[in-house]
């Protein structure tokens, strides 16, 4: 085994260990932290990071800048809430129902839109979000502008209803973990590679046999379904939803953690969410009483600084300073002819190269 392979394995072990420790810390936080305010911030971090991971699949990995993710989240919240309030369905089943509905809606609406590229796709996604919001505001079935409330009652896992924030904290953490693993899986799959090539150059992707439309639809459907799951979580946590859930600003908020942390990295939204959301909450708590709006101003300055000085995000900056692309050094170090002969030899001796 070459030195390099050992180094790669050691590195992977260290990363896995660090992530494991981090997870342990998060699992233990509610044991020591009792303040509902702090726990609320963590819950916020969890679901906003998940929403941002959903965005990142489409915006970061595929390069299709969507500014309509609040609409998917809102539709997911509405679909599951209405099924609970109008049909008395179980919340967990309603979550799945909401995800399927939103996935279908996103796939059907964006299928014809994917002939549009770049800014045109972004414009359509903005229009989609606003159209959905207006539709709900004007629809009696969806409760118009007054929204939909979920019933309160005794704590129950079956109804996903709790007085304390701790269960939401753990479900939120599980959601982050689950979606992170899903995204990691997608990134390493054929689909992940196809999405990366589409981000770089759609025509070149088509030239090597990748069907860009097919993979973009897959990305938009998965992304919308994850956003719908976040919508369900949000509705169950806040226990009330209204069309303001789908305003444009919310869509932008779903983009920020990914951009700050490093779009195109699966971990980007997590890093960004962990930094930006507590920062936003801190600024609000600390400064908004002094001068109204000053917290938003400071937040904007922090954001501009990242975009100006670290356009690839925190992770992008870190990765560039530390190249972590490992390939088979053994193959690289040998002179070319030798490699060829080695392969030829193996071929003739009937062994797999």
């Amino acid at each position: 085994m070459s030195e390099n392979v050992k180094a790669v394995r050691a590195y992977r072990r260290n990363v896995a260990l660090a992530l494991g420790l981090l997870l342990l810390v998060f699992v233990l936080i509610p044991v020591f932290v009792k303040s509902p305010y702090i726990l609320n911030i963590f819950v916020l971090v969890f679901y906003m990071s998940t929403l941002s991971m959903a965005w990142n699949l489409l915006g970061g990995m595929t390069g299709q800048n969507s500014l309509g993710h609040a609409a998917y989240m809102g539709l997911g919240a509405y679909a599951s809430c209405l099924l609970i309030t109008k049909a008395g369905a179980n919340p967990w089943l309603s979550a799945i129902f909401g995800m399927i509905v939103v996935g279908l809606v996103a796939g059907v609406i964006f299928y014809p839109c994917f002939i549009l590229r770049g800014p045109y796709f972004t414009l359509v996604s903005i229009a989609f979000g606003e159209a959905m919001r207006q539709f709900i505001i004007n629809s009696t079935f969806f409760g118009r502008a007054s929204g939909v409330g979920l019933p309160f009652g005794r704590d129950s896992w079956l109804d996903f209803r709790f007085g304390s924030k701790v269960p939401y904290y753990y479900v939120g953490l599980a959601m982050v973990l689950l979606i992170y693993l899903l995204m990691k899986k997608i990134e390493r799959s054929r689909m992940g590679y196809a999405l990366r090539t589409i981000r770089e150059d759609e025509d070149a992707a088509a030239a090597i046999g990748i069907n860009p439309t097919k993979y973009k639809i897959m990305a938009v459907v998965v992304s919308a379904m994850v956003a719908a799951l976040v919508g369900f979580f949000y509705a169950s946590y806040i226990r009330y939803i209204d069309p303001d859930l789908m305003v444009q600003a919310k869509s932008t908020e779903s983009v920020l953690p990914a951009v700050v942390g490093g779009a195109a990295y699966v971990e980007g939204p997590l890093v960004g969410g962990l930094i930006m959301i507590p920062l936003s909450e801190f600024l609000r708590a600390r400064y908004s009483a002094m001068l109204p709006g000053i917290n938003m101003l400071l937040y904007a300055i922090a954001l501009l600084a990242v975009i100006r000085f670290r356009p690839t995000g925190i992770l992008g900056w870190y990765m560039h300073s530390k190249t972590k692309k490992f390939v088979d050094e053994k193959l690289l170090r040998k002179p070319p002819v030798e490699v060829f002969e080695a392969v030829e030899l193996q071929k003739h001796s009937g062994k797999e190269a």
């Binding site: 770089e200 030239a207 090597i208």
Partner: protein, 235 residues
């Protein structure tokens, strides 16, 4: 191997190609020549299934491909090196090459094909870990050709390989292409504006003008043709 007959294609209401017919056999380099806007790239796009032909037939080893998807055509072994290189600049050289084996059919033989590609273009091996965007123009074109080789072409289509490259690099790339035709028996379709270079490398050629085949013949005959001399070679 490839037999195109009466091919018509275009974009929407605008027809670009009118009754194009030509053929390419195994082990042969065939040049498709013509100036800007003659319809060369549209022809490539029609053959690779990226533009749907409105009439005519495209037969590859006896199979009709005119209505097939680009993915299916690629699986049959028609691999193109698209115009303007179109490599993935943010991916490493090696990752670019891996993408050449995106289709299942060629994945099992990836390491053999990689070695072959490296043998043809040793520079790429030296730079395997580099982002492809940091390569020079010539190296990027080599990478585009190498990526096509990984896809195990039976018919390799080179669309304007000379675009923006130094003449000696173009020669290198054309040498690799004609070497593969002669040695491995693959068919090469060379689509070029640089007629001198193309005819020096090709066995036969077709001249496209305004979407129609204006002339055809062996490379020698075309080089000697008065019309070709006057219109394209400036002699």
């Amino acid at each position: 191997m490839l037999k195109v007959e009466g091919l018509r294609a275009g974009y929407g209401a605008i027809n670009i190609l009118w009754d194009i017919s030509f053929n390419v056999d195994a082990g042969e380099v065939v040049a498709i020549l013509g100036s800007n806007g003659a319809g060369k790239t549209t022809m490539v796009r029609a053959v690779t299934g990226m533009v749907r032909p409105t009439a005519g037939s495209i037969q590859f080893e006896g199979e009709e491909l005119a209505k097939k998807s680009s993915r299916y055509i690629l699986d049959k072994g028609i691999v193109q090196v698209p115009e303007g290189r179109q490599i993935f600049t943010e991916m490493t050289v090696l990752e670019n090459l891996e993408m050449g084996a995106f289709n299942k059919a060629t994945r099992a033989a990836f390491s053999q094909n990689l070695a072959v590609a490296y043998r043809h273009f040793p520079k790429l091996q030296e730079r395997a870990r580099q982002a492809a965007g940091t390569l020079s123009g010539g190296e990027q074109q080599m990478l585009a050709v190498a990526r096509a080789l990984i896809g195990m072409p039976r018919l390799l289509i080179l669309d304007e390989p000379s675009l923006g490259l130094a003449p000696n690099i173009v020669d290198d790339i054309l040498d690799v292409a004609s070497g593969m035709a002669k040695r491995d028996g693959i068919a090469v379709l060379l689509v070029e504006q640089d007629i001198t270079k193309a005819l020096a490398c090709a066995d036969r050629g077709y001249v496209i003008e305004n979407g129609r085949i204006a002339l055809s013949g062996t490379a020698e005959a075309l080089s000697a043709n008065e019309h070709v001399k006057k219109a394209y070679l400036g002699i």
